[in-house]
């Protein structure tokens, strides 16, 4: 499965119109929750892509779709040029889950407390790399522990003996033993203390730079996304609002929601300004939605078109020299300057 499509591209994974709906309610009030709707993005090799948005915006659902925990309602995921839906055999499924492992949010709940931390690492090795002997497995476990900055001696510890930061490193070590190409990291640092977070973010950058691993970094913390990521995807209510190279998006946010998000990020270095606009809106739960922009209830710039037509993610004409910055906003697409919330 290593050969690529006709023309070699650095693309590792792509989603086309990826959609996931959930049925909710009883027999009499059956409704549909649109958790992820028509999402298109790609992740390149050796790239950290940050997926940001409010809780309930569909970030974690995307991670679960990519990890094959959920089946897409419609749309496709293409990995190394082949659709995931073509994976039938257990062997191919194992290979995919080894190459695209997940690191979870809560390092206290995601490691089995009754075993030494080596347990998970060795089991994963046995399952995904059966060709290794027991001794080779031990050596490999020690190697990945060094990579994530833990002493090999730590393998013999129990989870309760480790700090939160060390446990999350174990999480990354477990993901690394299967020689992954893409790690799905769902809020990997949000439960850690500030002083420890940076170490994990530095580890993620190191994995990209030295091991060539791509990472989908799911977070609601834009500042940490900027610290490690190459590209940013901003989600709102199950759809992509804006995406592009992270420095470009943060310097010139075009979607009103991105602007709102950036204006809310606390910055101790900035001048105190309590007077900034307050937004009392809530993210919608997208149940049986009608067409139209999903941000329109909170948006100060709504035009008539926003009520009727769902905006499509596309590049702005004015941005031609800077490819890759895409926005799903009617106002921005008319070429007007969007200034909904100032940061």
């Amino acid at each position: 499965m290593t050969e690529r499509g006709p023309e070699p591209s650095p693309e590792l994974l792509r989603t086309d119109h990826l959609t996931r709906h959930f049925k909710i309610g009883g027999a009499l009030s059956r409704r549909t929750l649109h958790a992820v709707d028509d999402v298109n993005f790609s992740i390149g090799q050796r790239e950290i892509v940050a997926l940001a948005g409010e809780s309930g915006s569909g970030k974690s659902t995307i991670a679960r779709l990519l990890a094959q925990i959920y089946e897409p309602t419609s749309g496709a995921i293409t990995y190394e040029g082949k659709p995931l839906s073509a994976i039938r055999s257990r062997r191919d499924r194992l290979r995919y889950s080894g190459q695209v492992p997940m690191v979870f949010q809560d390092p206290f709940a995601s490691i089995n407390p009754v075993f030494r931390v080596s347990h998970g690492v060795l089991r994963s090795l046995k399952l995904h790399r059966p060709e290794l002997t027991a001794r080779q497995r031990e050596a490999e476990a020690a190697r990945v522990f060094e990579v994530v900055g833990l002493d090999a001696e730590m393998l013999q510890r129990y989870p309760y003996e480790l700090s939160g930061g060390q446990r999350q490193r174990v999480g990354f070590a477990q993901a690394l033993v299967t020689r992954p190409k893409l790690i799905l990291a769902d809020e990997p640092v949000s439960m850690l203390d500030v002083s420890i977070r940076i170490g994990l973010l530095n580890l993620m950058a190191k994995l990209r730079d030295e091991e060539g691993v791509s990472i989908l970094y799911i977070t609601h913390d834009i500042a940490s996304a900027r610290y490690v990521a190459d590209r940013l995807i901003v989600m709102y209510a199950g759809q992509i609002a804006e995406s592009g190279p992270i420095e470009e998006v943060l310097a010139n946010p075009r979607h009103p929601y991105t602007q709102l998000l950036l204006s809310a990020v606390p910055d101790p270095r900035a001048e105190p300004s309590v007077a900034a606009e307050i937004d009392h809106g809530e993210p919608p739960r997208v149940i049986d939605p009608s067409p139209g922009c999903r941000f329109r209830w909170r948006c100060p710039l709504t035009i008539e078109k926003c009520e009727q037509v769902t905006p499509v993610l596309s590049q702005l004409i004015a941005d031609q020299p800077l490819p890759g910055h895409e926005v799903a906003c009617h106002v921005a697409q008319t070429g007007a300057e969007v200034k909904a919330f100032s940061s």
């Binding site: 500030v194 977070r197 609601h220 900027r226 101790p268 307050i278």
Partner: protein, 339 residues
């Protein structure tokens, strides 16, 4: 400050009695809160900040116990009072907003019924009065009073957290203690809740103690800031002064650990190592193993709280006549066990 403080905590210590020994989670902490003041308390998990709040509100339960000190609220020492005596103060004058509204609200009772419970327990019994006041406080936090009939699961996270704050406001207290009320919310909801708390405070003049692990969150809201490390106060001063000129190496490290969304992208180091195990407290400075500015004396001599330009700092660098000699030990970043 000319007015007498609302709250005066002095030499407060709290211990947890555990099988593996006694853990002193709060060690000799003193501070005051003036009328209408906003005091921020920050620190990492396990530094004792929540335990401190529980001790101030007299909510400690075994295995925790108060090991010493006093908590004076409007001049009355709350330590040692019975529940009955405390109920006069609680909720009417001093209320607490807990960390997770999801767990603190009763899932099988409507918001209105929970408000009613609190009002009745503290002496307001008129039916009409209960309804008027409940609707009033909900409106104060920007929630439509129809939600008095709603159950917690019908509200969004932000609304649940706001109704917790509304509940704390039922009697217009003089002091509201908040334990990470925004940590379950995303940035946009977090910001609007902070602005709302500040507005309410300006309008009703209550004092706030706000505990959080996210220093940047309160940078624009609190009047004074107290930084805790390993159960002790490591720095206490005016918020702007602490942010602009952090004195304690730990505070400096914390501030440098925040990536910013503005300005140049630069590599950060964070603070190497992890907070000490409070069962085995090292002699000397508790921050010594992680400190980039330590010298040999720090290993033996536990620093006191020294005053410098109106701030209190627990670091030997600020002792009168301190002569820092660079440590002969290696840089802590070099021998760190990564955490």
């Amino acid at each position: 400050m000319t007015d007498p403080p609302v709250l005066e905590v002095s030499r407060l210590s709290v211990e947890y009695i555990l099988d593996r020994g006694t853990v002193r989670a709060v060690d000799d902490v003193s501070f005051t809160v003036g009328p209408g003041e906003f005091l921020g308390i920050v620190g990492e998990s396990g530094c004792g900040k929540s335990t401190l709040l529980f001790a101030v509100a007299q909510l400690l339960a075994p295995p925790a116990r108060l090991a010493g000190g006093t908590v004076r609220f409007n001049g009355t020492n709350l330590v040692g009072l019975t529940d009955k005596q405390l109920s006069v103060v609680r909720w009417r004058q001093l209320s607490v907003v807990m960390q997770s509204a999801m767990n603190a609200l009763n899932p099988v009772k409507s918001i209105g019924a929970q408000f009613k419970d609190a009002l009745q327990a503290h002496g307001t019994t008129g039916k009409e009065e209960i309804h008027t006041r409940s609707a009033e406080v909900l409106r104060m936090v920007g929630i439509d009073p129809v939600h008095l009939h709603s159950y917690p699961h019908q509200l969004s996270g932000g609304m649940r957290q706001r109704s917790m704050i509304a509940m704390a406001m039922l009697f217009t207290p003089e002091l509201v203690i908040m334990d990470e009320p925004t940590s379950a919310l995303d940035v946009v909801a977090q910001r609007s809740l902070m602005v709302q708390i500040k507005e309410l405070q300006d309008r009703y003049g209550f004092a706030v103690i706000f505990v959080t692990h996210d220093m940047s969150l309160i940078s624009h809201f609190s009047d004074r800031l107290m930084v805790m490390y390993a159960g002790q106060v490591s720095e206490l001063g005016a918020t702007r002064s602490v942010f602009d000129e952090p004195r304690h190496p730990y505070t400096q490290g914390l501030l440098e650990a925040f990536p910013s969304i503005r300005g140049p992208r630069k590599p950060l180091k964070g603070i190497p190592g992890s907070p000490p195990n409070l069962v085995l407290i090292p002699s000397g400075c508790r921050f010594y193993p992680r400190c980039p500015r330590r010298w040999d004396q720090c290993k033996e001599q536990a620093p006191g709280l020294y005053e410098r330009d109106g701030s209190l700092v627990r670091c030997l660098l600020f002792e009168d006549g301190a002569k820092p000699v660079p440590s002969t030990a290696d840089d802590p970043a070099a021998d760190r066990s990564p955490a």
